[in-house]
Amino acid sequence: LKEIITSWILLLAMVILFFVNANSVKTLSEDMYESAEMLGKSIENGDMKKSCKEISEIKEKWKKSCKKLFHIYPHTQLEDIEKLILMTEAHIKNKEFNDAALRIEEIKYRIHLLTDNEKITLDNIF
């Protein structure tokens, strides 16, 4: 009986962990996605000053988010996004707006993938 009770407690703890994780990941990714979209618009408008400010904000946000996400996602997946953010920053500084816009789209796609892969769907299971 002791083992059964422990199993129930473990199962409950895991379910709670899944929900808490899913919620926090969703909030974090939505926030990042929104920021990336705003940056995309600034790049489209060719607003260099605003783009520089927004990319540094994204960088800071990502640093904070990463600390939580590192427990959940393979580190390589997160490092790829970080690399893309750094590349976008470099493109903006070099006034390569087309490349920066391309990177932003890639960042948005990767962030979308993070939450998408967590959904319990047949595609994800198999």
Partner: protein
């Protein structure tokens, strides 16, 4: 590298906890479902332990999921015979009334050499000495000897003997084991008296002291061993 050390330690504790949770059966003879879980756990533990880019949770969650499934399944199989048979199979009778069951041997894919080998391990060298052979669900073989090969018991010979019980170990490595002393209905005063009888001054120098069911006391000093 320090991370590897910490991670290995965490995974080690996790695997030990998992095996303890699954109970003692895991350590001895494994049923098919338990064997699967044991293999999977060992494999799952390796990945997060050695690959630093993989979160530790990728090992913890599957291991706990396997443990929980195993505990629930064993609980269900305890309650339902059907599930038990489905998970572990049935014991197969390979020999009955001294005759080999060829069909069952074929089903179990046990050839005559395997069977002879197993019988030899059990101490039987001829089929004539064996009445029944059962292939258990865990893969081990149980043998019931034929009546003529069965050694006589004390009951058969009408000899009376006191029931043998596990000896009480009162001292190990100079340390008194209070629970054992209580179990054997003895006290420290009695132990010291027994030691004095054997010319030993205190408990500190005793490597082992035990009492068997007949009341015989065995004492070995630390220095007295080989």
């Amino acid at each position: 590298l320090a991370i590897l050390l910490v991670r290995t330690f965490i995974v080690y504790i996790l695997v030990i906890t998992s095996l303890r949770l699954m109970g003692k059966r895991q350590i001895g003879e494994l049923q098919p479902s338990e064997l699967v879980v044991a293999i999977m756990i060992s494999d799952l533990a390796c990945v997060p332990m050695s690959q630093l880019s993989t979160p530790l949770l990728y090992g913890i969650i599957p291991i706990f999921t396997l443990v929980i499934s195993e505990i629930f399944l064993s609980y269900i199989s305890l309650k339902s015979e059907k599930i038990r048979i489905m998970l572990n199979g049935r014991p197969q009778i390979l020999m009955k009334d001294g005759k080999l069951c060829r069909e069952e041997m074929k089903k179990a894919r046990v050839n005559i050499d395997d069977l002879l080998e197993e019988l030899r391990k059990c101490g039987y060298y001829s089929f004539e000495d064996v009445d029944t052979v059962v292939l258990e669900t865990g893969g081990s073989i149980s043998v019931i000897p034929s009546a003529k090969a069965e050694p006589p018991t004390l009951g058969d010979l009408n000899i009376e003997k006191n029931q043998v019980v596990i000896p009480y170990i009162y001292i190990t490595d100079g340390r008194l084991r209070l629970r054992e002393i209580e179990r054997g209905n003895r006290n420290i005063k009695w132990i010291k008296k027994e030691l004095r009888k054997k010319g030993i001054a205190g408990t500190d120098n005793v490597f082992i002291m035990l009492e068997d069911s007949e009341g015989n006391v065995f004492v070995q000093e630390r220095e007295g061993g080989i």
